[in-house]
């Protein structure tokens, strides 16, 4: 690798540590229209994502609950804050962009995107074992919207 790796700057940034400590929208939802479980058998990260979508296709509410490493918890928390109030279609576009970001297929400096502060995950591909932690909640959200109730990162 050419550039030096700084794990505090790449992975364990303040914003991630803070979301891990106080995850937003961390609760079981009473009457979700969609939900799905995400499981990462490699490290045991396990969470459920709940969504309430109105008839116009707006994500009225989103929440998650589960346990896992700091990366998976913070990423889930940030996922909920970035799709709340958005259209389903917009959430799916974000899912695609996020997926490409963490697999190094999208360069946030060059390629168009709406990721906002989700770009803090830009360098996670330096840590291949952790990419699945960051994308777990996104896969669960995507699965829920597409009526897949269990997603595993080992597919």
């Amino acid at each position: 690798m050419t550039e030096p790796i700084d794990i505090r700057a790449d992975l364990y940034q303040e914003i991630i540590l803070e979301h891990n400590k106080k995850p937003r929208n961390f609760k079981v939802m009473d009457h979700p229209t969609h939900f799905a479980e995400g499981y990462n058998p490699l490290c045991g990260d396990h969470l459920t994502v709940y969504l309430k979508v109105d008839p116009e296709g707006t994500i009225e509410d989103v929440s998650f609950q589960g346990s896992g490493c700091a990366i998976s918890q913070a990423s889930a928390s940030l996922m909920t804050t970035s799709i709340k109030g958005k259209k389903v279609k917009e959430a799916e576009i974000l899912f695609d962009q996020f997926h490409r970001l963490v697999t190094c297929a999208l360069d946030p400096k060059k390629d168009p995107h709406q990721l906002g502060k989700l770009t803090i995950f830009t360098n996670i591909w330096h840590y291949p074992a952790r990419v699945k932690c960051a994308s777990l909640s996104w896969h669960a959200m995507h699965g829920a919207l597409n009526k897949v109730q269990k997603v595993s990162t080992e597919e």
């Binding site: 790796i5 505090r8 364990y12 490290c43 045991g44 990260d45 896992g68 490493c69 700091a70 840590y127």
Partner: protein, 410 residues
């Protein structure tokens, strides 16, 4: 009797080329020996020698190289017979690992001799490889799997195990040393208790073969299994030891070359032991490497290894427990050099990634023992598993690194 100061750690470390690599610019501190061990140069040389000078198949050629290869391959069988103090060389069956050896027993012995309602006993601390093959057998033969409980220290509750034993018990299969906890089980007592009910006992020695002197006659186990790669030998090698009269009664579990005496389309007669249970071309070079690994262990002495590792364990236990709020998972009185731990507020996966930046390799996760993780109410642990080439300085580095983790996750 060797004295402690005589343990030639500096010389030993030089025997393992992989120990001198750097990771992220730091010297490797390899503390994942329960997953697999490093290979000494003598083992690597044995592989090279085979592929450069002796490459050929075994048991099937009159040409010179085939005979040399067969002799070297079979020499490992004798070394293992000696290393485990088995009575006969035919009691040593080569497999591709501990997992395959357990499956061999379940498929061959289990499917032949177990019937509906028979019981198999395992413990709560088993590796998945000593759970799933029995579940598969139970499903097929409608047998019952019973699980002997453990206490909060991670020790088998012997009285509860004894209560599970009955005339219905046909197999007891237990781990000798737990890969997640380090607990050393009282194998001899477990076996003696099972034999009162004429049950057969398999001991999973995947973690004990490289830490303790193994004497299968003294243990009186019916089966003993281990993997070569945890004994400083190549991956894809392993051993099933079985008492001769039991192996003799077992039908082949895989068909193919080497395991037959003669084949016609109407009828095949099988070869004698050990070949009958070793179908196909095995990992010849690997098995020869396993022989070299055993020679290497002999050159240091398994008793000296056990003593040195115990010293490391005591040092590591003290150093780790001095870290505030660190909780050791597995505190059995009789323990091997495996240190599993959890920290509040930090997931083991994050610990693993952070200490890796300091060049330290530990395992984080469920260690293929998911029921055990549930028993201790943790999703995963961080595990430092030691070998005789590790040092106290390396344990100091681990502790310093964990203290830095705690600064990030206060």
């Amino acid at each position: 009797m060797k004295t402690r100061t005589a343990f030639p750690i500096d010389v030993i470390r030089k025997d393992f080329p992989n120990l001198s690599v750097t990771i992220h610019g730091k010297p490797l501190v390899y503390l994942d020996n329960a997953a697999t061990t490093m290979k000494p140069r003598t083992v690597l040389n044995a592989l090279k020698r085979f592929y450069e000078n002796e490459n050929s198949n075994i048991h099937r050629g009159v040409h010179h190289l085939s005979q040399v290869a067969t002799e070297d391959y079979e020499a490992t069988r004798d070394k293992i017979r000696d290393f485990t103090n088995a009575r006969h060389r035919q009691e040593i069956i080569f497999t591709k690992g501990a997992t395959e050896a357990i499956n061999l027993v379940a498929q061959s012995y289990g499917r032949t001799f177990l019937n509906k309602g028979d019981e198999i006993i395992i413990s709560h601390m088993e590796h998945h490889s000593n759970i799933v093959p029995w579940q598969m057998l139970c499903q097929e033969k409608r047998c019952v799997l019973k699980v002997a409980p453990i206490n909060d220290q991670g020790e088998l509750i012997f009285a509860e195990y004894e209560k599970l034993l009955s005339e219905r018990t046909k197999i007891v299969s237990m781990v000798h040393i737990s890969n997640s906890l380090g607990t050393i089980n009282p194998a001899k007592d477990i076996i003696a208790a099972a034999h009162q009910y004429k049950a057969k006992v398999l001991i999973d020695g995947a973690q004990s073969i490289n830490h303790k002197k193994i004497d299968v006659q003294d243990l009186d186990c019916d089966f003993f299994v281990f993997s070569g790669h945890k004994l400083f030998a190549p991956t894809g090698t392993g051993v099933l030891y079985g008492k001769l009269e039991i192996l003799d009664a077992m039908p082949p579990w895989q068909g193919g070359g080497d395991m037959i005496a003669s084949v016609t389309f109407e009828k095949t007669t099988y070869n004698t032991l050990p070949n009958r249970l070793e179908a196909g071309t095995p990992h010849i070079a690997g098995v020869i490497g396993l022989g070299a690994a055993i020679d290497y262990v002999h050159s240091i002495g398994i008793d000296a290894i056990e003593e040195y590792e115990h010293e490391l364990l005591q040092y590591g236990t003290k150093a780790l427990t001095a870290i505030p709020r660190l909780r050791l998972i597995g505190t059995a009185r009789d323990k091997a050099a495996i240190l599993s731990f959890v920290l509040p507020n930090v997931h083991p996966h994050d610990v693993g990634t952070l200490v890796d930046q300091d060049g330290i390799a530990i395992r984080t996760g469920h260690h293929c023992t998911m029921p055990l993780m549930k028993r201790f109410n943790v999703p995963a642990t961080s595990r430092a598993s030691l070998s005789f080439y590790n040092t106290k300085q390396e344990l100091d580095k681990l502790v310093a690194s964990i203290r830095r983790v705690k600064e990030i996750f206060p």
